[in-house]
Point group: C2
Chain length 126, copies 2
Amino acid sequence: MSNLELKVLDQDEAAVACCSPMVREPLGEEAAVDLAKMFKALSDPVRLRLLSLIASHEGGEACVCDLTGPFDVSQPTISHHLKVLREAGLVGSERRGTWVYYWVLPAALAKLSALLQAPAAAGGSR
Amino acid sequence: MSNLELKVLDQDEAAVACCSPMVREPLGEEAAVDLAKMFKALSDPVRLRLLSLIASHEGGEACVCDLTGPFDVSQPTISHHLKVLREAGLVGSERRGTWVYYWVLPAALAKLSALLQAPAAAGGSR
DNA sequence: CGCCTGTATCGACAGTTGTCGAAACAAGAA
DNA sequence: TTCTTGTTTCGACAACTGTCGATACAGGCG
């Protein structure tokens, strides 16, 4: 299959295209429920730091063993937060031998970022 | 004072500049706590729809009486959600005569949007 | 095989959240 | 003033969340 890379690009562009800034038109009820789940996954300091740790890690991915150190919470709690991020569609994960690796799914972040874009800031109005 | 407009621009640009994408470097502990509060305010479907209703309303602001109709929840509940959005710094409000008006603070949305920007989607890596 | 290390799940518990009805407050009208 | 309408606050309650220790699972190594 040579369309693997294209598929990734399509995914990203679709994510951006599907969600115009929420300041343009009212959000639908279903869309709001869906997006709220993603934002809820981002609504905890530990999860935010986990996400940025994973994303900024060398190679774009990190194993759980790299992620438990920087936090004051227990290892089961880290595992729980990673599960929340995964079920929200913000990260992917895979077991490779002894370790489990996590990486960020850029399309999901791009989707939320586009949604929050505020044209008023660029236009200079108000 | 003729620097009123400049002040607004400064505010917006500072918000964008202060928060480079979280995928670039790990988030600090304090910054994560701060940002998590904003995302928590966005983590409810009713609040997301309220925010988009306010932002997309004519003139960029809406009175509470415009906001209670589209929802199935009681009016005190709407008032509660508006309070959450206000305390998170996402909207401003003002009483004008009988009615109370709410508007979106673009700098706050821009800050979160910039934080979530995912360079991997543009670079095409992974 | 048994042991060790890395990770996930379980069960429990305190704290928080979304929701409601009732009541209070704000401001204009009669 | 009293009445009416728009909005917020209060008190209560069920549901959810973050955290922990204990335990279970997965896989490599002796």
